[in-house]
Structures are given as C-alpha cells and as structure tokens.
C-alpha cells in the first residue's frame, strides 16, 4: 500500500471583500500541490478569487458532544442582544 498523503482543508473567497469559506479538502504532498489541486477541484466555474489551504491536522475543533457546556457561558447573557432593551414609543432611528 502506498504512503498516505497529507489532507488539506480548503477555504475559498468567492469575491474580493468577502470572507473565506470552507468548501472541502484535497490530498497533496506539499503546499503548492495542495493549492493547485484545490484550484482544479473547487474552482472549475469561477468560484473563487482567493484560496487558502490548511493542513487538516493543524485544525483544532471543539467537540460537538460537549457543545452545550462549551457554549453555555453565552446563553445567559441576553443583554448582549439589542432586542433585550425596551425603547420608548416614538423613538426613531435606534
């Protein structure tokens, strides 16, 4: 069996000014090959103006099973949302 190749996650910026968005991954042995493979695989129809590739092994993810506890600190702070506040009748542009 052949040696395993490195897996790279691919992020594409669809248009100048927008954020890069995750689209999938590619296999490649080095970073130039990763970029070129990502271009061939994910931008055959003008999908992008910029590509990032990141080794999958370098990505740190939260665990979905722990997501409740992990995101708990934000649940009880409703005052961070504008809808929390009562505005006087007739107030405009706020």
């Amino acid at each position: 069996m052949t040696e395993k190749t490195t897996v790279w996650e691919v992020f594409i910026q669809s248009k100048n000014g927008l954020a890069h968005k995750h689209v999938g991954n590619v296999h490649a042995t080095d970073k130039i090959m990763a970029l070129e493979n990502a271009r061939e695989l994910y931008t055959r129809r003008n999908e992008g103006s910029c590509i990032w590739v990141v080794k999958s092994s370098e990505i740190v993810s939260s665990e979905s099973e722990d997501s409740e506890a992990f995101f708990d600190p934000s649940n009880d702070k409703m005052y961070r949302h504008p809808t929390f506040y009562t505005m006087p009748d007739g107030a405009k542009h706020i």
Partner: protein, 305 residues
C-alpha cells in the same frame, strides 16, 4: 441510549456529522454506498474517454473533456466525504481493486458510437441526477453537502447528452438510426441503475429508517421514467418498451419487466467490459506509482531544507 438519541436526531431531520456517535451499521452502510458512488464517478470516465479523441467537432471535444474532468472532481468530493467516516483513500481504492467494492454496473457496457455519448449524458447522468437530488437530503452531513455540489454541476452533463441525441435524431436517416440504437441499448440498463425492486432490496429498511436514502429504488425509477418519456417524444425517438403507457389512475407511466438476470450477471463480473474497466484502473494506478513516490520525496526534501 446512544442509539435512541441518534435516531431522535435523525427523526428531527438533523444532520449527523463525522465526530457524532453513530451505529456501526450506519457507518458501514455509508462507507459502502458512498465508496460505490465515488468509484462509479471515477470508472464512469472510461466509457466517455473512449470518444474524446474522436469527437465530431472541437466544440463537442471541449465539452466532453470538461464533463470527464467534472466526473473526476465528483469522485474526489465523494472520496473526501467517505474518508470522514474513518477509512483512508488508499483503502477505498484497494477495495475497488480487490473487487470488494462495486461501482455502477452501467459502466460495464461499451460505448460503440458517438450517439452513446448522447445516451449516457441524457439517460445515465439523468438517472444519476434523480438519485442525487434525492440524496441531497441524506442524513449524513458530508454526503449531503457533496451531493448539493455535484447536483449544481451535473445538470450541464444531462443537457449536453440530450443535445447530442436531438441533433442526431434530426440528422440523416443513418444518424437517427444511430441515436435510436444507442437509446435501445442504454434504456434498460439505465432504469436498472436505481437497483433492485423494493420487494427484492434487502438493505433498504435501515437505509430509509436512518434517512441515508430518502426515496426507495422504485420511487426514484418511476420519477426518472415519468420525466424521460416526454423528452424522447420531443426528439422523435422511441423508448424500447412495448408495455410503456400512461396510467391515468396512478398518474405515472406503466412499464415492462426488467431483466434482473442480466443485471446481476453484469454486477457479478460478466458484463462486456467489467475486466477492461478494472484492469485499466489498476494499470493507471500502478503507472502513477512513480509520480506519487516522487511527490513524497520532494515533500521530504522541502522539510529538511
């Protein structure tokens, strides 16, 4: 407990993601189905590659090249999605070579004339689209996302095939005959692409319960036939089924008996091109070994420099 939670999630139409708990049966079913799907995209390049150098015009050649390149891309999306289940791409390819994994049986038929490029795009890609549109709603997140991407790209494939058939059907009598002949050969294998009838399909129980599949083989097949009959009429070709007729009561077309004996015989390796397709894949893989080795060596050198 885990299993109950898992099923509740499925019932609520929530997607299952790679790191979520899943029953082994669910994982194995997905690996089998997704790898078969990926292998089909890759092996499916071979019958079409056969006509790239003989395409009748530069336009047709460029289109066919782009289509074959898309099929390679679709295979890669699906391998990537399948790898999230904890199996490596090397293992997946090995299973194909060891004949432990299958690919769609339709690609074991030869492409004898240019009209076959039309029939494959129109019927084979058409049937694949019906299946894939349904699979966009599959419960496994990475599979669902791959299907959405593939469906977006696939509709040009069917249209280019139908255009070829339409052009030939209004050409010389010989061209029309060629188109009809391609339809005659590909019709039955195409409608059998949806797999055995529901009454004979042992695995669909769990696949439906787990929402891996969203519609049964028979539902998908009927959907495809209902769509396609009118398209054949528009271009003046005749679907080779004397029992095909509109059933007012059902609101669907009735159709004739499929030859499952032939289907299973081809699945089990006795089709006209099974050996050729696999041999070619093995050879291409072996011929590429030095490229993979060189790439690995290059990467190592980069690290030490």
């Amino acid at each position: 407990m885990d299993e109950k939670k898992f099923q509740e999630k499925i019932d609520k139409e929530q997607k299952i993601e790679p790191k979520d708990w899943m029953p082994e049966g669910y994982r194995n079913h997905l690996i089998r189905q997704m790898s078969q799907h990926a292998h089909s995209e890759v092996i499916g390049m071979q019958p079409e590659r056969n006509w790239i150098t003989r395409a009748p015009s530069l336009r047709a050649k460029m289109i066919l090249l782009a289509k074959v390149q898309d099929e390679a891309g679709h295979g890669l999306y699906l391998y990537s999605a399948c790898e999230t289940l904890g199996i490596s791409r090397q293992e997946l390819v090995q299973q194909l070579h060891d004949e432990k994994a299958k690919y769609s049986s339709i690609f074991n038929y030869p492409t004898l004339t240019w009209a076959d490029m039309g029939a494959i795009g129109w019927l084979v890609d058409g049937a694949a689209i019906v299946n894939q549109v349904s699979l966009q709603r599959t419960s496994y997140g990475p599979y669902s996302r791959a299907m959405i991407k593939i469906c977006k790209e696939e509709s040009f494939h069917q249209r280019q095939g139908y255009e070829i058939m339409a052009e030939m059907a209004k050409g010389t009598p010989e061209q029309k005959e060629m188109a009809q002949d391609a339809l005659n050969r590909f019709w039955w294998p195409s409608i059998m692409m949806f797999g055995p009838q529901d009454s004979e399909s042992p695995r669909s129980g769990n696949a439906m319960k787990w929402k891996i599949k969203r519609q049964t083989n028979d539902e998908l097949r009927q959907n495809f036939i209902d769509k396609t009959v009118g398209q054949a009429e528009v271009i003046g070709l005749k679907i080779p089924d004397p029992d095909l007729k509109w059933n007012e009561e059902r609101g669907h077309y009735d159709f004739g008996k499929m030859d499952w004996e032939e289907f299973w015989s081809v699945v089990n390796g006795n089709g006209p091109c099974n050996k050729q397709r696999l041999d070619h894949h093995r050879k291409a893989h072996e011929d590429g070994a030095w490229v993979r080795k060189a790439a690995q060596e290059f990467a190592k050198k980069q690290l030490t420099n």
